[in-house]
Symmetry: C2
Subunit: 279 residues, 2 copies
């Protein structure tokens, strides 16, 4: 397995990808939207490059953080497989979906008695499967409106942070190449963990670092991959917005956030190194 | 892999088990309670026999249908591993538990980025995990009372069926070796599938055949293993009772069941072969 590097905006380096693909490449798997910094990958172009060099190479995308946020068409994207997950679209945990293009054979991972099930084993989580359908339905009945609404909330949060708090780094791209519900910000000279605690005491739930590494207190590999230093990655906070948030929620978050960062910086032992906002 | 045969009451044949175990036996896996016919296996004796012949052989039990119904003590049972499942204890689907005795090493089945998780991969289903705890708590605060209550309901349902409906076969054991919430009955000359539909139209949900084979309309392998003929297995109905059922529910079920069986037998093309109840 080889990992393709990303640029400082978290976008897969297409030149290196092109060099890495050869006649032996079985599978390329790329997140359509990065879970941490929300970068939308140029998947259509990636598929084109890969298939041109080796048409046998299968392309899989983890679209969990893209679904219900950007339009997805498997034909357009040129992917052979695509995964989705309940908890990323505000449905209850316990189910997900795997799209497999006609003609692509996928093997069972788990084997056992339920020979009638082709890919997975065990009793299906029917309530979560129904929930998946319902959650998607609630988005797709007015997709554009919801996406615009969430984006406006995110922009207000972003601008509020940049206006009111000094010395922050926005992680990842701004503009059209960032998914609408994601905002990832490093607050310099403060531990991310401390911020999450302060905010949660005020009823605001955000995450720090990566869910993948939160149990070992390692900095997010996505943030290190885009060139953040360890201490910058450690102070990163991921905000996720949804149609269930209101403009008032955002104003409240900004208020609590400003107070928390000020307080934490006063008691912080980490010394300033940068002088102004970078984004 | 070798399957150990069971007797006509669904109990593992200990003499054959003893012959099958040798120095190369890695694992013995036996359900503590059979999911379909509720037979409680003599697991303590099985463990003793296995460990006497080969102390290195690991013993696993699927205790999903035993937990919250019979007392379970892993030391007493002599097992190295034990599995439980949410949906078998009236908790929401999506979680379960694996007990692993200290010193036993279990390998990951699924590998990937979340290196901090030792056995499984992915985002934990926290609501279902909390639900598991709550469901178990609700049983164990008055375990004996609940078990007795459920058993009384089951006995009333069983006796009602035997009194009011002719030509039924009770599948599995009666008495102390059958788990309290399980009743599995074959109604001769009627398709199980037809019964489930009739009952469900009246708000009563039961299953026919085995969940493992329900999609291919094959008869339950558990029922064939205890010597039932195909047509007997096809007419089998599994009733499961719980603390959420009332005596009135049981009387209502008996009434609907009697009417349904009578109606279905009048229109059935299957000819009688047996003359009386066998149990």
């Amino acid at each position: 397995m080889v990992q393709v590097p990303v640029d400082e905006e978290g976008i897969v380096d297409l030149d290196i990808l092109e060099i890495l693909i050869d006649k032996d490449t079985v599978l390329v798997s790329i997140q359509l939207v990065n879970h941490e910094i929300g970068s939308i990958q140029p998947l259509r172009e990636i598929s084109r490059i890969v298939k041109e060099i080796n048409p046998q190479t299968l392309i899989h995308t983890d679209a969990a953080d893209a679904y219900c946020r950007i339009p997805i068409n498997v034909e357009d994207l040129g992917v052979d497989m695509l995964t989705l997950s309940n908890h990323k679209i505000l449905a209850s945990k316990g189910a997900g979906a795997l799209y497999v293009r006609n003609g692509v054979k996928v093997e069972k991972i788990i084997h056992g008695a339920l020979s009638t099930q082709t890919l997975w084993l065990g009793v299906e989580n029917v309530p979560s499967i129904v929930g998946f359908h319902k959650a998607a339905e609630l988005v797709y009945r007015d997709f554009n409106k919801q996406v615009t609404y969430v984006k406006e909330l995110r922009e207000r949060l972003l601008n509020g942070i940049l206006d009111e708090i000094q010395e922050v780094l926005v992680n990842g791209l701004l503009g059209e190449k960032r998914v609408v519900d994601n905002l990832n910000v490093s607050f310099l000279y403060v531990e991310g963990e401390a911020i999450t605690i302060e905010l949660s005491l005020n009823g605001i739930y955000v995450s720090s670092g990566s869910a993948c590494t939160s149990r070992v207190l390692e900095p997010s590999h996505a943030l290190l991959a885009i060139g953040r230093r360890h201490e910058e990655a450690h102070g990163s906070i991921l905000f996720k917005l949804s149609r269930y948030h209101s403009p008032e929620d955002v104003e409240y978050t900004l208020k609590v956030l400003q107070e928390s960062i000020n307080r934490l910086r006063r008691i912080s032992s980490i010394k300033p190194r940068r002088a102004k906002n970078v984004h």
